[in-house]
Amino acid sequence: MQVTKFAIPEVIFGNGSITYLASCAQRLGAKRVLLVSDKGLEESGWVRIIINLLKAANLDCVYFDGLTSNPRACQIQQGAKLYRDHNADVIIGLGGGSPIDAAKGIATIVSNGGEIHDYEGANRISRPLPPMILIPTTAGSGSDVSQYAIITDKKRKVKMAIISRSLVPNISIIDPDLLVTKPRELILASAVDALAHAIESYVSRLASPFTESQALTAIRLIAGNIKPAANSKDHEALKNLSIASTAAGMSFSNAGLGVGHSLAHSLGGRYDVTHGLTLPILLPNVVRFNKPCAERKMETIARTINESCPAPAKQKKHDLSEILQSMFEELGIPMRLREIVPDNDQMEEICRLAVKDACSVTNPREADCDDLLKICGESW
């Protein structure tokens, strides 16, 4: 049996748990906080609320707002400069995958110096990071509990995966109340991302009993709650999605993912498309490709989804790729690559990069460039 490891941060979960932010920061020795977030959260007012929470506890706060979606290496450097210029001590990341991964990148540069691509790959961080508190707002990326940070390298047009136990934050505060302001597309994109995390990590070659149970929990919750959450922003459903996202994060952080994410990363690096849009398109085909190597597990996933989906029994499908396909179509998610990327003449290059992606290592079935091209072809 493979020796594995299960590492997660302190997780503070619950409606209104955001109010503990200041005391958490103080516990980590904060006097001047660097807050990393993005425009969307500024507009929805959460950035202001966080700053006020910190101010009320007499904590200085400097806000870094130089982020776009899919954070870039140069933005990371700007954030690190801001951290140093303001003598900040604790980093708070608020948002979806982008601000949270940017916070991780900034923390890495601040304490280890150099450029972010120096740390691409696994375990290349050699010095401790400043304390981090991450507050997810999308119930998707799971980055707030994971050892992964995905940063875009504009020069090479790739998404770099930085993997290190040091990227697991000190504290993750998950407050479902923050999900209320999200638009429908974002709820869907992030829920699908979380579902992909759960499915890929469940069948991963590094899956362990500890990750599998988290993955199944996530799958069950997403399947049961994605519709009410997206269509009526039902509070209970949103809460369940955030539990699912965190559980999926715990799972993939320790078990790794698969080629679905490898392809999503290289596509995202090349075309700057939203991560959560590429996954539902690729996932059914990736599941189909992996099926021979993870038949039992795929069945378990299918059963889990069927049990939590309130659908009539005769409509039930038993093949996981079909289940996913119909589920996404029902939600009105674009299901063809051509709908989200401009052309397919760089597919070979994209697939070559994806083979090298760290996420491919844990894919249950060995995949070469041709296999991935085939998957992309089916998805086009």
């Binding site: 490891k5 691409e120 375990n123 290349r124 010095r127 401790p128 136990r165 070659r205 590094l206």
Partner: protein, 396 residues
């Protein structure tokens, strides 16, 4: 792009979330090391400071003592000087000393020197003072570093050297003069005696009254000749090389001898009233007669200068408590307050050019100190001064 990631990299059994504990440990170790180094440096600097034989003080702008070295503690044993004002310790005064080099050093931001005599533990000690401003970067507060070197000995040797030179010159002169005077004196005395012998033979030939007169004159001539010879003898005693050993000396005798030297001076100025009170019986002290004569001579000369040929000078010897003393007082001009501390400085003088060069009192000071004695000055401007020299009483 790094080398290909493998499964065990993702598991990362041997990798964990790095924390600051090891870094902290490393820092603590480094800090301890640095701390040890700076402690060593501190000790070294402290050793260097303790090796300095001068009194060293760091003063604040308002003359409060901030820190001192070991020599200071030896000078004022058992006193915690920190926070006390410098002038209260050294001068027992409520106000800063006007000649203090510290102020000058502060205002000009340069190293300033000065010399002063301080009376510490009842003894006068002469110090060379060097004040240098201590500008500490980053603080508004200026501080002053003051070194005080006890130069009592050096000054003494300096004075002694001049004195010795002078005495040698006087000695040579006096020896010559003594011979030159003794010869005519001998002739005068001889011829005076001759006249007296002739007078006895001429007894019948001249009137008795004239004979009486001639006897009287020749007697006076003889007496004065003897006195001249005495004076010459006294002069010669001054030019004798200094005896290295102290012998019992009678202060009364010393006072009388010295007065005899100045006899002609007092006679010349009729307005000078001399009052002599010599205690008898007198206890002898251990000392050097020639040097003690010099002390009294200097004090008397100063008294004569102070009254400017008009006033009263008194000299008295006394025994009290454990001391034998001699006091020379005058009704002269007195010593202004600002000059009191300078009195015993070599080459400090208020006399006109040609009258003195200012080593009289400093010589006195050194001679008296060598005799384990002390000089006490008491003076009031316009009323007069009195100098009391005390010597320890010899117990048999």
């Amino acid at each position: 792009m790094p080398e290909k990631t493998a499964l065990h990299d993702l598991i990362g059994i041997e990798h964990h979330k790095l924390n600051f504990f090891q870094e902290l440990q490393k820092n603590i170790k480094e800090l301890k090391e640095i701390n040890r180094e700076s402690e060593d440096q501190r000790c070294e600097i402290a050793a260097i400071l303790d090796g300095i034989t001068d009194v060293m003080m760091v003063l604040s702008e308002d003359m409060k003592i901030i820190s001192v070295n070991r020599v200071f503690e030896q000078l004022f044993p058992g006193i915690n000087p920190i926070g006390k004002k410098c002038y209260t310790l050294f001068r027992d005064s409520e106000h800063p000393c006007p000649e203090c080099p510290a102020f000058k050093s502060l205002s000009t931001n340069t190293v300033c020197k000065n010399t002063a005599i301080f009376r510490i533990e009842g003894k006068n000690q002469q110090f060379d003072m060097v004040a240098s401003p201590l500008k500490t970067p980053g603080t508004e507060e200026d501080r002053i570093l003051i070194f005080k070197r006890d130069v009592t000995m050096e000054k003494e040797y300096q004075a002694k050297f001049y004195q010795a030179e002078k005495m040698a010159t006087i000695g040579v002169l006096a020896a010559g003069v003594a011979h030159e005077i003794n010869n005519p004196m001998a002739a005068v005395a001889g011829f005076a005696e001759g006249i007296q012998r002739r007078l006895t033979r001429l007894d019948k030939d001249i009137p008795a009254e004239l004979a009486e007169d001639l006897y009287d004159y020749t007697n006076t001539i003889l007496k004065e000749c003897l006195r001249c010879q005495d004076i010459v003898k006294t002069l010669l005693s001054f030019s004798r090389p200094v005896a290295s050993e102290f012998i019992p000396v009678d202060l009364n005798q010393v006072a009388e001898d010295t007065l005899r030297l100045l006899d002609h001076q007092f006679r010349r100025y009729q307005q000078v009233k001399l009052e002599v009170k010599l205690t008898s019986p007198m206890q002898s002290i251990l000392g050097n007669e020639a040097q003690l004569k010099q002390v009294i001579l200097n004090l008397l000369t100063n008294a004569v200068d102070a009254i400017e040929h008009n006033g009263k000078i008194s000299i008295e010897t006394f025994i009290e408590d454990e001391h034998v003393g001699v006091r020379v007082s005058d009704s002269g001009c007195g010593i202004p307050e600002e000059n009191r501390d300078m009195l015993f400085e070599p080459f400090f003088t208020t006399k006109q050019v040609g009258k003195g060069i200012g080593i009289g009192l400093s010589t006195c000071f050194n001679i008296v100190r060598e005799h384990n004695g002390e000089i006490i000055v008491d003076s009031e401007v316009g009323k007069g001064s009195s100098f009391t020299v005390l010597f320890p009483l010899q117990r048999d």
